[in-house]
């Protein structure tokens, strides 16, 4: 029983970290219909900025996170205007080609600018160490990640379902020309959504750096994981992504505890099974 709780705690923590990093991708892929393989690259940029801010500028953790989010968004704006705008509505494979190209460039630049070594983001003392849950201990920063994940999920759900912006966004996604005819400025909606997605990527990159350390190949190394999580959840669905993260996090963690040597098998077999049963993802919308 104790083992069960212990695994459950680990699974929950891992799932929430995955959620924070991948939810931005769910926004770009589900709502904007762009297969954005460069998502990890933006998370990585966030990580690098935070690391630089904390290590070299001596800023605090909160300031570093803010700088990372806004810095990454600022970097992404010209990329969106010059490159992404050309591939909205393009065939999937064209989007794959473009975003892989962008990823390669960002990796090359990161490698050149920061070198190939691992970069860390020092945690504030409040988040260091571990908390005692009674039957086991858990790292404090993981609790912080869980809280952040829940807040992000709630805020996004509210923004998309309950605000005027959310209504316009959903309208633009369902029928861009109709929305434009109704006076919705789809270009702005898209730009803002893209910025939000990138900001979430950067936030996740910083928050998850303890688990997925920042280095130039971050962008490619975890690309598949993000893509899998989002598709299993059903692109564009916040509850779906949350469910997928917790489910896959649970399967991954349990597999690694019980039969670590077959960890990969469990994970990918589960992915295949879920997609075969839910071909549009756990909460995918019927198109």
């Amino acid at each position: 029983m104790q083992t069960f709780f212990s695994i459950a705690v680990d699974a929950f923590a891992y799932g929430m970290v995955l959620f924070v990093i991948s939810i931005g991708l769910s926004v770009t892929m589900g709502l904007m219909r762009v297969v954005n393989l460069a998502h990890g690259a933006f998370a990585m940029i966030g990580g690098y900025i935070a690391s630089y801010a904390a290590q070299s500028l001596g800023l605090g953790y909160a300031a570093a996170i803010l700088l990372a989010v806004f810095g990454t968004v600022a970097i992404s704006i010209p990329i969106e205007r010059l490159l992404y705008r050309r591939i909205y509505g393009a065939p999937e494979l064209t989007q794959v080609l473009m975003t892989i190209g962008i990823t390669f460039c960002i990796i090359g630049i990161a490698n050149y600018a920061f070198g190939p070594t691992l970069k860390t983001i020092p945690l504030p003392t409040a988040l260091q160490g571990s908390a005692d849950l009674g039957f086991r201990s858990i790292a404090t920063h993981r609790i912080f990640a869980i809280v952040c994940g829940l807040v992000v999920a709630g805020a996004l759900w509210y923004a998309i379902e309950k605000t005027a912006f959310g209504v316009k966004l959903r309208a633009s996604v369902d029928n861009a020309s109709m929305a434009a005819a109704l006076g919705v400025r789809t270009e702005i909606i898209y730009a803002v959504s893209f910025a939000v997605a990138v900001g979430l990527a950067a936030f996740g990159g910083v928050l998850g750096a303890e688990l997925l350390p920042v280095e130039p190949y971050y962008a490619l190394r975890y690309m598949v994981t993000f893509l899998v999580v989002v598709s299993v959840g059903g692109a564009g669905s916040i509850p779906g992504a949350l469910l997928a993260c917790l489910l896959l996090g649970g399967i991954d963690t349990t597999g690694r505890y019980l039969m670590p040597e077959f960890g990969e098998f469990f994970f990918y077999l589960a992915v295949i099974a879920i997609i075969c049963i839910f071909p549009r993802g756990l909460a995918g919308r019927v198109r």
Partner: protein, 390 residues
Amino acid sequence: MKRVVIAAFAAIIMGSAAYADTIKIGVVGPFSGPFALQGKNFKAGIDAYMAMNGTTVGDDTIEVIYRDLPAPDPAQSKALAQELVVKQRVQYLTGFYFTPDAMAVTPILKQANVPLVIMNAATSAIVTKSPFVVRTSFTTWQTSTPIAKVAHDAGVAKVISVVSDYGPGVDAENAFKAAFEKEGGQVVEAIRIPLSTNDFSPIMQRIKDSGAQGVFAFLPSGPTTLGFVKAYSENGLKDAGIKFFAPGDLTQESDLPALGDAALGIQTTFHYAVSHDSPENKAFVEAASKAIGSPAELSFPSVGAFDGMKVIYRMIEATGGEQDAEKAVNAVKGLSWTSPRGPVSIDPESRHITQNIYLREVTKADDGTYYNKEIQTFEKQGDPGLAAAR
């Protein structure tokens, strides 16, 4: 017309023989990609050696040609080696970070009449694949065996082994198990985890539940190591008194700043620490730091490369610049010298390097940086892996 042809022909023949004034060395390594750091270290070691010993041997000028192989890819490795030998006419092949890449090249050495000097790839069996292979790095067996004695001497009787599920990981597990059981200890469980593991908390839980007093670990250097070591301290294993044993790949110098306090006190055995205290190493570190640009990136592959160049220079001397792989290899059998890592020699039978293995502990220096402090020496260690394979 006929005379021109004959002249040209003669020039080619003579050019390829005694009058060769440029000797090319082909280096294959990961110069881009996730392992670019290790490739950079190859280059730093090579540059350091050439800066200290000149770029000529006798009348011959040495030219180094680099070829990039970002990830293990034996087919590409062989294609690159073929290109280096056939097109670039290199007389020596060297580098090779990954075992499969080195393995793929061994079948062509005889026909190409080219020796292969391995600067890293650490699986024991490579040297048996061709008589023209010489290795100046280490084997996983060589570095993982002494730590078993360390564990036993520390009073640990039960150990759990956790390794990444790939060739070197399996080697490390076998090496440790063999040596630890020989010491009278018990490996209670041997876990192999996928290379792509990100979250190590469940593994830590499993280690706790196993009731072992210590954990032996082997993971490839880089992000996974960082995750593992952090999970080890965060999940309270360190505080619970579960001791951590590993070969030195886990605490390579370039990862230490990222590992930080989490790694403090971890003991590893390895053939080289950048902090090794000797005049040879001081000179080497100075030259290599200059070559690599950022001294914090300096790590173990640089010394393998440095000594690899030493061996190649000796080969060139012995053959007078002529292409004769057999003569070249014979010339370095039994060769011994003082490397930056300490006294070393090439075992005449296995053509693998015999060297000291050091027990080191991650320590914080006065200036706040972390380093591997050597605290014990296991002298003149050969490769136990070959004997085990037989």
